[in-house]
Symmetry: C2
Subunit: 264 residues, 2 copies
């Protein structure tokens, strides 16, 4: 079963130690931790617990945020952590507009430059970098790489050791999605994240749906990434203030497994 | 002064008759009415009042919604109304996914077919059709044409008498925006709508900002549409449940004029 749990899905309920135990208990073989939870648990302990349970780390969330003051040190630490965890990739949420700026073109140029600075270090550490294009509604605040095409243009400019994380929530609407997934191919698709788009959506960040509860054609998108050669894990990542973060985490994991088997 | 008032900006405060008077009083020379307000006032009365005040109708909002049962009749009526108003264009908000469907590809095909059915009638009536690509966050519910590139591909497939309405709110984030505005050129840009993107944005539909209150680089976008040859009106369209719909409408118009002169 190629299901992975992005720990943000149960971030209000569980520590990373609990999430690792939970995955093992529910037979979920992949995990993708967030770095705040990792810091809380301690890297060594986390590595040991993940190894003891034989989990695959499908990604580390997250590097990027190149708008932050300490972005270089922070990304270096993230690469080191991803290396220690033997993560499939370090996910980059690249950051939006710098404080007080409206210059999206310059912001995007700076992001490309910043990635080019950390990429050699990531390569040396054996950590693939995965640019995650975020939904255009998050362009100002979280990431101004907003389409797969744009992310792949950056990858092509930078060469080896870099690819994309395809999150259905961010890309489902894109008229060029199938074409760009094909373009990305096995080489560039480093992660595949699933959840659903709710109608209505009540919040721009924390109102994602469980697979099957929204309008994303998950089977079709899966067929596209698999046709492109992707054979890795399917990582559930649900930010849900009003629903899934309020539920018992064991119930959440059960529903994730069930929906993964039936609607994706 | 090439400023136009989209009546949605004061829809909670004013009838169409009041909006026409308001424009005249404030020296705003363009107006873009919504059809519910037009029906309320009556087409003949509206035409007479608009002519008496020598206002340009920069667009009629809206045709489209090809997912509705009565879409064909409704669009025919909209074309007739736009003709009577001598509107610069009929704005098409094309509709999202049909009820119960997740098939975005089919929805988009159906939209293209539907436009091709009404286009000859619009041409005969001398009414240019303006596809308005909506922000991807509105793809499921309101319009699954979501980028300028996608809209222009539809225009190119359908030929003469059709173009786009460029609304900064919907397109500001697009990495291909400058390129696609250039591609559109004078021929295809039938309308230019302005407002701003607020940080944070609290609602996916009704939390637009007044020009200058958000992060859109309005001067740059304006330079792009003007460089492409657009010389028409700049239409203010602000849906704002929590702010501008709560204010005195005369104050709203004053601020629109002031911001148009200073920040766009």
């Amino acid at each position: 079963m190629k299901l992975s749990l992005n720990t943000a899905t149960v971030k209000k309920q569980w520590t990373l130690a609990q999430a690792i135990d939970g995955c093992a208990r529910h037979g979920i073989r992949g995990i993708s931790p967030w770095r705040d939870k990792l810091a809380e648990m301690g890297l060594k302990k986390a590595v040991a617990a993940i190894k003891a349970n034989d989990l695959t780390v499908t990604g580390l969330c997250r590097g990027g945020f190149f708008t932050a003051k300490d972005w270089l040190d922070d990304n270096r630490r993230a690469i080191e952590e991803a290396h220690e965890l033997e993560a499939d990739c370090l996910v980059l949420v690249v950051g939006g507009l710098p404080e007080g700026s409206k210059d999206l073109i310059k912001a995007r140029e700076r992001i490309k430059e910043s990635i080019s600075i950390i990429l050699p270090e990531a390569r040396a550490a054996g950590v693939p970098l995965a640019i995650e294009p975020l939904h255009p509604m998050q362009a100002a605040e979280r990431a101004c790489i907003n389409t797969l095409e744009q992310a792949l243009d950056v990858c092509d400019a930078l060469g080896e050791g870099i690819g994309v994380a395809v999150d259905v929530y961010h890309v489902w609407w894109d008229p060029k999605l199938e074409e760009q997934i094909r373009r990305a191919g096995r080489k560039r698709i480093l992660g595949y994240h699933i959840c659903d788009w709710l109608v209505p959506t009540r919040d721009l960040l924390n109102d994602r749906g469980m697979m099957g509860d929204g309008i994303i054609d998950l089977k079709r998108l899966r067929s596209w990434v698999e046709s492109a050669g992707y054979a890795g894990f399917h990582e559930v990542e649900i930010f849900s203030e009003l629903d899934w973060w309020q539920r018992d985490a064991d119930e959440v994991l059960k529903v994730c497994k069930d929906r993964f088997a039936t609607v994706t």
